[in-house]
């Protein structure tokens, strides 16, 4: 081919990709403009953004896939190849021009992003001593690898038309699932894994090299195969009804169907296995206000738990401040893990052998719901300690054991309770033990009791419901509720602290815990040697479900880390001690996973 034909060929191929150029440049320009006004960029280190490289890598991968996908295969589908063959250029030259033209927007997009980040780091260098240059360059190198991979796979996928998209999306989803099952695969998986996410070890940004090599080799092979197909055999692939396309279609749709239907089949199988249990007769008993459903095998426990439930409900209604009887289904047929029972808003669902205290606890929730209304649930992150405290306070009275729980006193003694944390449940759960608001809430209700008893309790519920629709901060909500109900929040909290401190005076000396990581174990020391059984608890991330927390007893001063449960790059641990059949935990500590 004449050297002068190259520019013309490149221009022709570039013009064919105008939508992709426009899309990528528009996107990166808009992101850049958004970044310009992003406060977190100027308030923190620039590198805050590059650490979350997985999302950016997925975006670049998919855009590059689109560019690659529009390149070689469509010439055969649209019968343009015959026209191209009539040009005075060889097919291999056309392929090279197509490859360069479709790779160009990917390189330019990554380059623009690099330019944005370097400019931003120059204008706003972040904390003194931080040097984001290396991190930014490394992150963009990885983005380029993701882009090249997407582009190469896009070219390969173009031989299967629109089905190529299905193949790549299915591959990403299956890759993500594989990364969950086999954590070492995570750095290899784009999008749903951690490819292109930087790992920081002692302040140095790194990324494993093996996934980069893997993707580059795969890309080279994909381009090579696409090139070979473009030279001739591709026509057979793209012909209507070709065997290869049919095989890929059946493979992709079939795989997805097999997975989906497979899960469905497993579900059905599970249902069949449970059939004997589901088909067992349920006993139903009606009282004046309740319909009690229970397993006849548990009749003794049910009778004990629900005997005189109408009177019990009326008594609880008096304590909560709800004069109107509640009408409910009470199902003693099983409750989810970590729950003795639950009030769903429409019924009580309890463990088969739930005792009277649990019934009372959930009934208290039902009465509180009747007073406050459903809007109150929208403020639950500010009121959980009170909701659970009130229900536990009522249940403790029903069970004949009122007073300040020793566990609450120990919690406060170990780490004094802050009101600002107690009224913001998300922060509480991130920093402290999710279960602690229950006993602490009992003490709060006890402190509130001195402010006016049942009148104040029902007023608090009503006012929380009245504020339920508002976007309101936790403390503002409580100060407002206190004002409307005629008490001073600080006085109640001061009483709350006094009650806890008085109760703590009766406690035996509590452990003084120190913990440090040693390899794959946590070393736990009680400096005071107070004689309590020590425990550790682990979670994979701050927002992990409580059911996934892993409890490990301290043996010989150590807890082995449950590494199979900790797939993330960091994990959280708590240390604590057993008290009254329960545990008192110190704060969560985040640490890098060994």
């Amino acid at each position: 081919m004449s050297p002068r034909a190259w520019p013309a060929l490149l221009v022709k191929e570039t013009l064919a990709l105008v939508p992709h150029w426009v899309g990528m440049v528009t996107l990166i320009t808009l992101f850049g403009l958004v970044q310009l006004f992003d406060g977190s960029l100027t308030l923190g280190a620039v590198s805050g953004r590059v650490s979350a490289g997985a999302e950016a890598a997925l975006t670049v991968f998919m855009l590059a896939f689109a560019a690659g996908h529009a390149t070689v295969g469509p010439e055969f589908y649209a019968d343009h190849i015959e026209m191209l063959d009539a040009l005075p250029v060889r097919r291999v030259e056309i392929f090279v021009a197509k490859a360069l033209a479709s790779l160009a927007p990917v390189v330019v997009t990554v380059g623009m992003s690099l330019g944005w980040d370097l400019s931003s780091s120059w204008v706003s260098p972040g904390a003194p001593g931080a040097d984001p240059f290396g991190e930014i360059v490394l992150a963009h190198g990885l983005l380029l690898v993701a882009g090249v991979s997407g582009w190469a796979l896009g070219m390969l996928g173009s031989w299967f038309g629109g089905l190529g998209w299905g193949v790549v999306l299915a591959t990403l989803v299956f890759g993500g699932m594989a990364a969950i099952i086999v954590p070492p695969m995570r750095p290899y998986v784009v999008g749903f894994g951690s490819f292109a996410s930087l790992v920081f070890v002692s302040r140095e940004a790194t990324h494993p090299i093996e996934p980069v090599v893997f993707w580059l080799v795969l890309s080279a092979m994909s381009v090579m195969v696409s090139g070979l197909l473009f030279l001739g055999p591709g026509g057979a692939l793209t012909r209507r009804g070709s065997l290869a396309t049919g095989a890929v279609r059946v493979g992709t749709v079939g795989c997805l169907t097999v997975v989906l239907v497979g899960f469905g089949g497993i579900g059905l199988l599970g249902l069949l296995l449970r059939a004997p249990q589901l088909l067992e007769p349920i006993a139903v008993e009606r009282t004046e206000h309740f319909r009690i459903l229970y397993d006849p095998d548990f009749v003794a426990q049910v009778v004990e738990a629900t005997d005189g439930i109408d009177a019990l409900s009326a008594r609880i209604g008096e304590q909560v401040g709800n004069p109107v009887p509640v009408e409910l289904d009470v199902e003693l047929l099983g409750a989810q893990q970590n729950h003795a029972g639950v009030f769903t808003g429409g019924k009580l669902r309890l463990q088969r052998g739930a005792d009277r205290e649990v019934v009372a606890h959930e009934l208290a929730h039902a009465h509180a719901f009747a007073v406050a209304g459903p809007a109150a649930w929208r403020q639950r992150k500010h009121t959980r300690f009170f909701d659970e405290g009130l229900a536990s306070w009522v249940a403790a009275r029903v069970a004949g054991k009122p007073g300040i729980p020793r566990r609450a006193a120990a919690i406060h003694a170990l780490d004094p309770v802050q009101l600002d944390l107690l009224v913001e449940d998300d922060r509480w759960i991130a920093e402290r033990d999710i279960a602690q608001p229950y006993p602490l809430g009992i003490v709060f209700v006890e402190a509130l009791d001195e402010a006016g008893g049942v009148r104040v309790r029902s007023c608090v519920l009503r006012e929380i419901g009245a504020l339920g629709h508002r976007e309101i901060a936790g403390l503002a909500l409580w100060v407002t509720v206190a004002d409307r109900c005629g008490f001073v929040l600080e006085d109640v909290f001061a009483r709350f602290e006094r009650l806890l401190e008085d109760a703590a005076a009766d406690l035996p000396p509590l452990p003084e815990l120190e913990a440090s990581l040693q390899g794959t174990a946590l070393r736990v020391v009680d400096r005071r040697e107070a004689g309590f059984r020590l425990v550790c608890r682990f979670r994979s991330r701050p927002d992990a479900e409580v059911g996934t927390y892993e409890h490990v007893d301290v043996v010989d001063g150590r807890c082995e880390l449950p590494l199979w449960q900790l797939p993330e790059e960091t994990f959280g641990y708590q240390v604590g001690f057993r008290m009254d059949d329960d545990a008192v935990f110190d704060r969560w500590v985040e640490a890098p996973t060994p």
Partner: protein, 559 residues
């Protein structure tokens, strides 16, 4: 019409059956989850399947009934037959609705059959759920039917809808899913709405159904359906580019509603103390006197700086866990600066700290990293009031010419602040500088940072007052021992508190050191630190000095 119906059933029946199998597989998986985890209500499995997987089923059905007919040319054939437009519209719409409703009904009834044996499932509740699902189905299907008439733009329309829905979240509308969108009847789990059904969702459902129906009708009747025909014709590269641009622009602007909508003031229920230029709220009686003094000082500075309205501030009493007497609350408020205040601390120091935070917020929180502005903000509150301990504090400074940020890292906030106060007191033409730096409220982002830097050019030189080096020796920094047993800090004599910060690896140096975890060490000579040697962390020690009513701190040791 019957023939048309039969033709559609024959043409699409197998595809619908296949889609139904997939939907039922999802349902069966949902059963597995609910039964395996003993969730309270099995009926949730069906409503959750309908809520999350149902829309895909609806889109698929409409894709077959509307789009496939158009793309394969069937619609042109039908138009040539003696069928009215109403028939050609009503049959696919009604057939689609019947298919979707039947599929959802199958999900519901199958689940109800199982649930009736597992738990109490009163008929009244089942009827209520049917009505909710019916409304949901009607709205989704009619809207999907209307959008299917937008031809090759239909993906773009759904994309914009998706961005609109996401963008609305946190803007003018609170919780759009359950208040204004067509999925409102099932937006809350049905077990939550059992006793309080979401009947207020009828209005948005009716409106969205109307939108879908009118869209289909308008497009099909306008100039004999010319638009639909054009939108289903093969696209040129330019048309594709146009759609891509619209999609990308929609993506780019989708965060804007959340950004420009006035954020609800989460503290507005608290009364503000009387002030002219300040809005200071006290979230507790113990901090009301402090709030009054803060407001008064802000009024004075506002007069000097020409500021009519300072950023709102909320004082939040707390007595635990503060390494100083004032700290920003972790949970941010976009409209207010929320500060935790320990009212038992020295009042003048607390007022200065609060005002300093307000001044910092006035600069979009950017001033703390701009040389000169950091010192002006630190020193201005103290410079306007007599300070009996100022000289005592200055006695601890061995290098008074050092930049404010360095002094703070070397000696702690209280000592560094004294130098800043002395410098601001001797600042020539102070009102002009204050007006230049603080006179205009800054936003966030790079343009604001450039503006703050521009307003402060020359300020570091103007603040370079000549001070005598102090004679008091500061605290030695703690030593660190790293071994197989972990990290231990060796505590120098006289230290009372060890401050520990486990650093974010992305922010590895002192910006994050404002909020350390204080560990009491009075009388101890070492302390085990809850850090991993591979982590980045910083440690220092400090001691309370009554003579300066503040803390004397060592330099940070950063590892």
């Amino acid at each position: 019409m019957i023939a048309l119906l039969v033709k559609s059933v024959v043409q699409h029946g197998v595809a619908f059956a296949f889609a139904l199998v997939l939907l039922l597989s999802v349902l069966s998986t949902a059963w597995m989850v609910v039964l395996g985890q003993e969730l309270p209500t099995l009926i949730t499995a069906s409503t959750a399947t309908i809520y999350y997987a149902g829309p895909l089923f609806v889109l698929y059905v409409n894709e077959r009934l509307v789009a496939a007919d158009r793309l394969e040319g069937t619609s042109e054939f039908l138009a040539a037959l003696p069928l009215t437009l109403v028939h050609r519209l009503a049959v696919p719409w009604a057939l689609g609705l019947a298919v979707v409703a039947a599929a959802f009904e199958l999900c519901l009834l199958a689940t109800a059959l199982v649930a009736s044996r597992r738990e109490g499932l009163p008929l009244s509740w089942l009827v209520q759920i049917h009505v909710q699902v019916g409304l949901f189905t009607l709205a989704w299907h009619t809207l999907a039917f209307g959008v299917a008439h937008t031809g090759r733009n239909r993906l773009l329309v759904w994309w914009v809808f998706l961005l609109l829905v996401v963008g609305l979240e946190g803007s003018w509308i609170t919780n759009p899913w359950r208040s204004v969108l067509w999925m409102a009847p099932l937006a809350d789990p049905v077990e939550h709405t059992r006793s309080v059904p979401p009947w207020d969702a009828v209005v948005p459902v009716a409106l969205w159904t109307l939108v879908g129906a009118l869209l289909a009708l308008a497009l099909e009747t306008w100039r004999g359906g010319a638009l639909v025909a054009r939108w289903y014709a093969p696209a040129t590269a330019r048309a594709r580019a146009g759609r891509v641009v619209v999609g990308m622009v929609a993506l780019g602007v989708s965060p804007l509603p959340g950004e420009i909508a006035p954020q609800p003031d989460a503290w507005s229920t608290l009364p503000a103390v009387p002030a002219v230029r300040a809005e200071v709220r006290a979230a507790g009686r113990s901090v009301e006197p402090i709030a009054a003094e803060v407001a008064s000082l802000l009024d004075r500075i506002g007069q000097e700086a020409g500021v009519d309205r300072w950023p709102g501030v909320v004082l939040h009493p707390t007595s635990r866990g503060l390494h100083r007497h004032v700290r920003r609350a972790v949970g941010r408020s976009d409209t207010n600066l929320v500060l935790l205040v320990d009212p038992s601390g020295p009042r003048p120091g607390i007022v200065r700290d609060v005002v300093r935070e307000v001044l910092l917020r006035q600069t979009g929180d950017l001033g703390g990293d701009v040389p000169g502005v950091d010192a002006l903000i630190a020193g201005l509150p103290g410079a306007l009031a007599p300070d009996p301990v100022l000289d005592a504090r200055l006695a601890w400074v061995d290098d008074p010419a050092a930049p404010y940020a360095d002094l703070r890292a070397e000696h702690g906030q209280d000592i560094a602040e004294a130098v800043a106060v002395a410098r601001v007191r001797s600042l020539a033409d102070r009102p002009a500088w204050v007006a230049s730096v603080l006179g205009r409220r800054r936003g966030v982002g790079v343009p604001s940072l450039v503006a703050v830097r521009w307003s402060a050019r020359g300020l570091p030189d103007a603040l370079a007052a000549t001070l005598q080096p102090g004679s008091r020796a500061g605290l030695a920094p703690p030593g660190l021992e790293i071994s197989d047993d972990g990290v231990r800090a060796r505590v120098p004599a006289g230290a009372e508190v060890v401050d520990l910060v486990v650093l974010d690896p992305l922010q590895p140096v002192p910006g994050a050191l404002d909020d350390p975890r204080p560990l009491p060490v009075r009388g101890r000579d070492d302390l085990a630190l809850a850090v991993d040697p591979r982590q980045a962390y910083a440690v220092r020690v400090r001691r309370w000095e009554p003579a300066i009513e503040g803390w004397v701190a060592s330099a940070w040791v950063v590892r």
